[in-house]
Amino acid sequence: MLVEWPFSRVDSIRGFAFLSTWAARGLPVVDSKLPFCYRGTKPREKQHKMESVEIASIDRTDKRFCVSFPLKNQSLFDSLKTFGIRMPLLLLDTKPHRVVTGFRRLEASCRLGLTRVPCIIMSMNEKDALLTAINDNIARPLNIVEGALALEKMLRFGFLLDEIYATMKLLGYEPHEKLLGKLVEVARSDDGVKEFLVRQRANMTHVELLLGFSSAERRSVIAFLGDMHMTSSQLREIFQLLLLVRLKEGKILFEEYPSLDNADAMKLFLKKRTHPTLAGLEQQLRETLQAASLPPQVSVKVDPFFEKDWVDIGIKARNVTHVKEAIKSLDTFIETGRLRSILELTKGTHRN
């Protein structure tokens, strides 16, 4: 099967204008005003055609242009199963073929048991191929690992720093050497680290903190946290607490830690190690409130860090009886000295 497939068609579908589009349209491409990715390419007259290619003729292990992570994508798999491959893969005319774009489509095709996939085969140098791959993916929101992969590959392919910085801006990162260094480290991490970062929807702060651990520690941290669901701030705080434990205790004895299934319990556990005085104050507060057995309509709120030197006491009432009960319980709360004990905790003069 051979189908005419001019590149301008691919571009208009994707909304991209990569170098081949310029070439296909016969536009002058050697122009200093053009973005760096267009410089040095020559106009090309050839019309590229879509053809059905045997998967066996494609080198699936060659990921030099791959900026997708992870490759397994259930939505794409389901879509291909229902609609088939609507968008051809882009391959280099090498033997075996190298994939430029369509790594995830190829992976899903293999899972579906397909033996042939629609492709466009073209010839271009490796730098152009990488830019094409990045351009093909950049329209969708790339996760932090994918952004890192794109930049690391640009670095490896010998792009100039200002070209890489321009791409960083496109990806939403500040063009900064230190930041680039960290992203490169992410790209070179093992798949366990990458999968964790994607699973947790990690941002740059998380990356920065995770890279603060040694490689061995990173593996332990990831194993310790497992598949626990965490908000962005919970993940940041847990990383910070673990780094603090390491700083204060010299190492993190994961093997001695209990297995905990929620982020708050984990934070509490780690905080007891890093903030023993604060944990002691919290414990005393909990015990005093428990002993007071105040009715549910009465609330006693203390600043979580015992900074504010006051407590908020609230009564929630639906009728007069509720108020009377609340006042009676508060009276006992005062008479037994429990309110005074709590107020002392907020004064900062209390000593363990």
Partner: protein
């Protein structure tokens, strides 16, 4: 480290009221931003969170800056305005190279209505020695030698700072001492006690205009930096987020340390005027026994101190 100095176009407000921090008592200081950035690169410096550039920005349009200072002094009523240039940089570290403070010092000497504080960790007043006048206060941040060696590595040793303070006193200038940041690390109590002894041996404490105390506090961005740089000294204590969002030592610890240092300093000279930098009223009371609840109250204490030492000269 010799950071490049970039002369920046001088515009906007370079003379401002210290922004203070939410729910904490400010001393009502006024800042003059002659330079933005510092070559001393202390590990805990707040500038690491504020300023990102690899250079030091220099504002050297003297007439523009002096006009702003003049206007602010004239508009100021009811107390003696105190100005300082050490908010976004070190007051003395670049003086030999740039000479930015000379016109300011001379201006305050002529104006005779306000004080200019040169706050530094760089032990050299030689570039300005010949023009110092009573309206200039020479101040140094002080910390135990072990902290200077580990966290303030490009600054002058403490004994040299004290020597310069002594020299300033000999020249008839009042001096200021700043225990800020006070860092809690294993054995800090003993080190601070020795530092205070050394100060008392070196300086005439009756001619110390003010002493500030401020325990280490920092913005969240710096917390991550300290963790990644494994700053053991800086993260030794227990930190919580204060009402202003900054990391601070736990209140009970702050009170304990302030009280300890306050008592030690007062035991050397009962008349010393000691204030807390950016603290809560309850910490003021428990840590020093002084009831201060607002910035205005603290400014009145400053005025009383200035009046006592300057008499009618201000």
């Amino acid at each position: 480290m010799n950071l490049p100095k970039v002369r920046t176009e001088t515009r906007g407000n370079l003379v401002r009221n210290c922004p203070g921090t939410r729910n904490h008592i400010c001393c009502g200081y006024k800042t003059i931003d002659l330079v933005e950035g510092c070559m001393l690169s202390c590990s805990y410096c707040v500038l690491r969170a504020y300023l990102n550039g690899p250079s030091i920005n220099v504002h050297d349009d003297t007439s523009y800056i002096l006009a702003q200072v003049d206007e602010m002094i004239d508009a100021h009523k009811g107390s003696v305005p105190r100005f300082g240039t050490g908010e976004l940089g070190d007051s003395l570290a670049l003086e030999r190279e740039l000479g930015l403070h000379r016109p300011l010092i001379e201006f305050f000497g002529r104006k005779k209505r306000a004080l200019l504080e040169l706050k530094s960790k760089w032990a050299s007043i030689r570039p300005v020695e010949d023009i110092l006048n009573p309206y200039t206060v020479v101040s140094f941040s002080l910390a135990p030698a072990s902290i200077v060696a580990q966290e303030e590595r490009r600054t002058s040793p403490v004994h040299r700072r004290l020597k310069v303070l002594k020299r300033a006193q000999e020249l008839g200038v009042f001096v200021g001492l700043h225990f800020d940041p006070i860092i809690m690390y294993p054995g800090f109590e003993q080190d601070y006690a020795e530092l205070i002894n050394e100060i008392a041996r070196t300086l005439d404490l009756k001619r110390v205009l003010w002493v500030s105390m401020g325990l280490l506090r920092f913005m969240p961005r710096l917390y991550t930096i300290f963790l990644l740089e494994q700053r053991r000294n800086l993260l030794h204590g227990e930190f919580i987020r204060g009402e202003d969002g900054k990391y601070r030592y736990l209140k009970s610890e702050r009170i304990r340390v302030y009280k300890m240092l306050y008592d030690q300093l007062k035991s050397k000279e009962g008349e010393l005027f000691i204030y807390l930098c950016m603290e809560r009223p309850d910490v003021w009371l428990e840590g020093t026994g002084v009831k201060v609840t607002t910035t205005e109250e603290l400014i009145r204490l400053f005025d009383a101190r200035i009046k006592k030492l300057y008499g009618g000269a201000l």
